[in-house]
Symmetry: none
Subunit: 205 residues, 4 copies
DNA sequence: CAATAACCGAGACGGTACGTCTCGTCTTACG
DNA sequence: CGTAAGACGAGACGTACCGTCTCGGTTATTG
């Protein structure tokens, strides 16, 4: 039998099989890409470096991904999945403050945030990739950004005729602006102020 | 003297001289870089391509610039200088609407705007370049963004204790957000709404 | 021996059995290798190409052969077996003229001859393969080359003290020389002249 | 033009110039190819290995040569130039014995001979290269092979109607045959016997 | 007449070398 | 001394095969 293999399935080397790819290789590539970005910067992320530091053949990478940004996007999506929960305490102000604060933390402190910055940078150079990035992450994220407000509207805490997309842009726009353009620190004072301005607008409209 | 170069720059080949650098070469490089970016995209801007399409030797480029983004930044600064005038009609609302509208036009419609997007993209990949970009353009632009509001404060049209930097981020942040992240259209309706929200905040504070 | 293999299993598809290999796969591989050499040249003979055009798994090839030249050698030996009969009319001159003429035809006209050329080429690059080629074909062929003369010596038509190996090298050497080095045409006039020279030497010695 | 290079080619490092290639790089490549063939065999001669052991960039190799056999041919021609002098003592027999003996030594003992074997091997795999090899070496060598006999014919020592090409093939053919096919030792006894057979034929014809 | 064992096609794997591309440096010759 | 030209060392690119390995299926012999 293969009791050894079965006993420790993670440890054993996977050298190919008939139906499907190596999970081991897939993970090693994504982790290597992630690590390289954080340690060496975007220029340090080369297919050769990924292959070599993942202990994987280049051809194995090319079999499953087309570009290095494709790899980084996969790595990012895997990491980002759990980190962007939308809070629901039932109170708009608190939820928004909470959400913007954790969004900020994600963007500026986590490795995944660094990867996203790199991907957004690449999107500026490559319209085709920009479209992919939107389709595979940004649109979904945009929905998430809307969620707190939409729930409040649903609960009757906010006016029904609120122009949600425009309001969301005014809430998160300044955060991305500081992240991508000015590089200024984004603290809770700043995000709280954004929420306050929103509530003021929404209360009056 | 440069009269020859200026009089008939195309005809006379400039193969070196004893009196400093060639203005002809400088211009040809900046224009070539600009054109290549617009026509072929950022990936099409290589030092070799610039040299070849400017009719200039690679070494001449390396003598005066270090990287291709350095060239693009020079090209951008030259183009951007005149295009970002700050209006002063004496009325904050009108001035801001005017300013944001022309800023938007600059960012989304002009070739220089395309170059800036590329430079901002590169800044996400390269912290050193991000610092240079801030020092040579963004800080100055940030000052310009503040100008309309500061003038109004000075005139007594806006409260003196206004947190100008934070307000500016809320005004232009959403614009850059759409430019760099969502790719959504930025029309006058959107910029006018930003101004309205600002006036509402400022009037109350 | 291989008589079993050749004898038994018929033309039906063979997808595995407990004892013994698939004759179908064996033949398909040898034919594919042969065809590829003739159609695409030596560089076109790759294990992957053989496997794919024989409809066989790579592993099946590696189970039975070690290198592509090993395959070509098997293919060659199978083809060559019948084509190199040694004539025996009882007259040395006629036999030799006949033999050299058919040897030349085999070397320059047949597909098997093309394969042998490739194998001899490989033997120049790889001493280990050169040894194998000698053991599995050239020594035997050398014996065949000797046969006509030895029979004549036996019959008393040629002197008993003839240095047969040296004479054989002078008979066939020029043929291989033209085949492998100069590429000159080898016609009957040339082979007849070789025989004439031999008879002259043998008559005198 | 190149007088500088020719004057002092060895000493200075040459990292590029406007008109013409680096003699230093050229020599390093040819020597590296030669050494690799002798030390590691034909399979050990790879462009990467040559580049690395010559301290040269791959692109520099590809700029001037197309294939590894092209490099080996250049290396061979440079080495072979001086080693194949044709003797002229005024006596056919002595000259031929001398010539065949030194030819044999060149083919079987020298590094250049090993390279030639490899090139002849490659020629069996690649008709295009075979043509190049003939044009750049074999034809010339064939002329050299004829020279001793032609001089003797000219001196009246041999019949004027001698079929020189066919005679040459009978003289050198057996040597190449042993070199390329049988691998048998080629000693002076063998080459002297070839000469003796030739003289016998020529004397009678 | 099931269980087993050897062989089959398929194809993913870690690798090596390929030939191409661009980089940034260096040397030369000209004006 | 700045220029145009362009060869150079370096190294990443994406591709082609290499030889190894696993997988699931097929069949003949065995228990």
């Amino acid at each position: 039998m293969r009791s050894d293999d079965v006993a420790d399935p993670a440890a054993r080397r996977h050298h190919g099989n008939r139906h499907g790819r190596s999970e081991h290789a897939r993970r090693a590539v994504l982790e290597a890409a992630d690590d390289l970005l954080v340690e060496k910067g975007f220029a340090g992320v080369t297919i050769e470096a990924i292959a070599s530091s993942a202990g994987v053949a280049k051809q194995t990478i090319y079999r499953w991904w087309s570009t290095k940004t494709d790899i980084l996007l996969d790595a990012f999506l895997q990491d980002a999945a759990e980190d962007l929960a939308v809070p629901d305490h039932g109170e708009v102000g608190a939820d928004l403050r909470d959400y913007l604060s954790s969004l900020t933390h994600f963007l500026t402190r986590s490795d995944a945030g660094a990867v996203l910055r790199a991907l957004l940078g690449q999107a500026q150079h490559d319209p085709a990739f920009a479209a992919v990035l939107r389709a595979r992450f940004l649109d979904e994220q945009h929905d998430r950004d809307r969620l707190v407000i939409e729930r409040a509207v649903h609960r009757g805490q906010l006016p029904a005729d609120l122009d949600v997309p425009a309001e969301v842009d005014q809430l998160v726009g300044p955060i991305y602006y500081r992240l991508l353009v000015t590089g200024d620190r984004i603290d809770e004072h700043f995000t709280d102020r954004l929420v306050a301005a929103f509530l003021q607008r929404a209360g009056r409209s």
